[in-house]
Symmetry: C2
């Protein structure tokens, strides 16, 4: 690969990770990389295609590791139960090992999520892996109602993306050394607890494989301001790639 092209990819990865995709201009990239502006469009065609190629070169290995780890976990489980934390671990570990050799790419993913650009990227580069992991998670949590399961995946994505973006404010020097491994360990433990948590009573009105209890004692819920009337909400606006 051309040296210029390589420099552009590396620099873009770093700047996208630090400031986000939209917030990083092509001129910032070429200035930091020490190349000409036209080189970007010559080698990649557009800013969007630069991002695509940037993701492509890293997503491949990560996805392969994910599949390999998952198959290992599934094989060891055999016909028995599948442990949630094992599946989560298989999903997270490749990102953490990728982050330890170069934390930039993981940050880019977190940034993309923050900018609402992740859905399109996921569909393009991660869809098959996501499907398999979702199935594995569902097998690991057979008693969890479908809707609840989807929501908890949603919560997981938020926590995961945010964790990839950065660390809490006052973790001090200990975490600043980029110990992604420990970070992922903490996250997996947290998510495992979340996925295994009992389903809240208030949302069990859905038809799902969840045993109905004979109307437990109604514990007072002073926290909820008003519970009966609910305002309909317009469907989620899909974030677009371009702006």
């Amino acid at each position: 690969m051309s040296d210029t092209k390589q420099k552009i990819l590396d620099t873009a990865e770093r700047l996208f990770g630090e400031h986000g995709y939209d917030a990083t201009s092509l001129r910032q990239i070429i200035a930091a990389a020490g190349v000409n502006l036209a080189a970007i469009h010559y080698h990649f065609g557009s800013k969007q295609e630069l991002l695509d190629e940037l993701i492509l070169r890293k997503a491949g290995p990560v996805n392969e590791q994910r599949i390999a780890l998952l198959e290992r976990v599934v094989a060891q489980a055999g016909s028995g139960p599948l442990a949630v934390e094992k599946v989560l671990e298989a999903f997270m570990a490749p990102m953490s090992s990728a982050a330890e050799e170069n934390p930039q790419f993981v940050r880019v993913m977190g940034r993309l999520h923050a900018e609402g650009l992740l859905p399109a990227v996921v569909e393009q580069h991660f869809q098959p892996v996501i499907v398999r992991f979702r199935a594995a998670m569902q097998r690991a949590l057979p008693e969890l109602p479908e809707l609840e399961f989807l929501w908890r995946l949603h919560f997981m994505i938020g926590a995961m993306a945010h964790t990839m973006c950065g660390a809490p404010d006052f973790t001090g020097v200990a975490s600043a050394r980029g110990d992604f491994r420990a970070r992922i360990d903490r996250l997996v433990a947290f998510l495992t607890g979340g996925f295994r948590a009992p389903v809240s009573q208030g949302v069990e009105l859905e038809s799902a494989p969840c045993e109905r209890r004979p109307s437990e004692s109604v514990q007072e819920s002073p926290a909820s301001g008003r519970r009966q009337a609910e305002t309909p909400v317009p469907p989620q606006t899909q974030t677009t790639l371009s702006r």
Copy 2:
């Protein structure tokens, strides 16, 4: 308040929530609101000040409710233990009730987080409340090491912000009706499980008030690429919610 000013605030709130702060131009706002471009700078001074005033008018009531609910929970706990889910509930409920009457504001908060603009906003509008809730959470989780606690707060912020931004892709019509109440219930249950989850062994090397277990049986961990000690996750401990 001027009618023009009101229209600008409402429209900006909606568009900021739908597309984010940076991605929404002042011209989009004035076009949707049917006012003149100069009106924004006349009434607010700048785009940034428009955002500030937009948050200010909603953050006040939400913060008051949060404090009131928290005090109630603390009072009911007395000198006894403080339940994690009660504290979380007190923190989330005002957002959900605010969202049910107008979902736009909550989405704005989620968007601001995604754009990395939230820290500044939080410091300006939510700092005192955050401090009190953090203290309450710490009291509710006395045995959790400090660093682990901070990380779990970090995870919570990610899940919370993402949940405020939108819903999972395939929740269908059932959830599209904007049942923020149920959404928060699910999130609280999930987070409660996460906060109560046992600390991963791999990160327990910090000095903190965490009872040392007498070296539990080391079960093999093939899933983790390179790790010697695996993390046993026992079934969910005590939970007052259900099951």
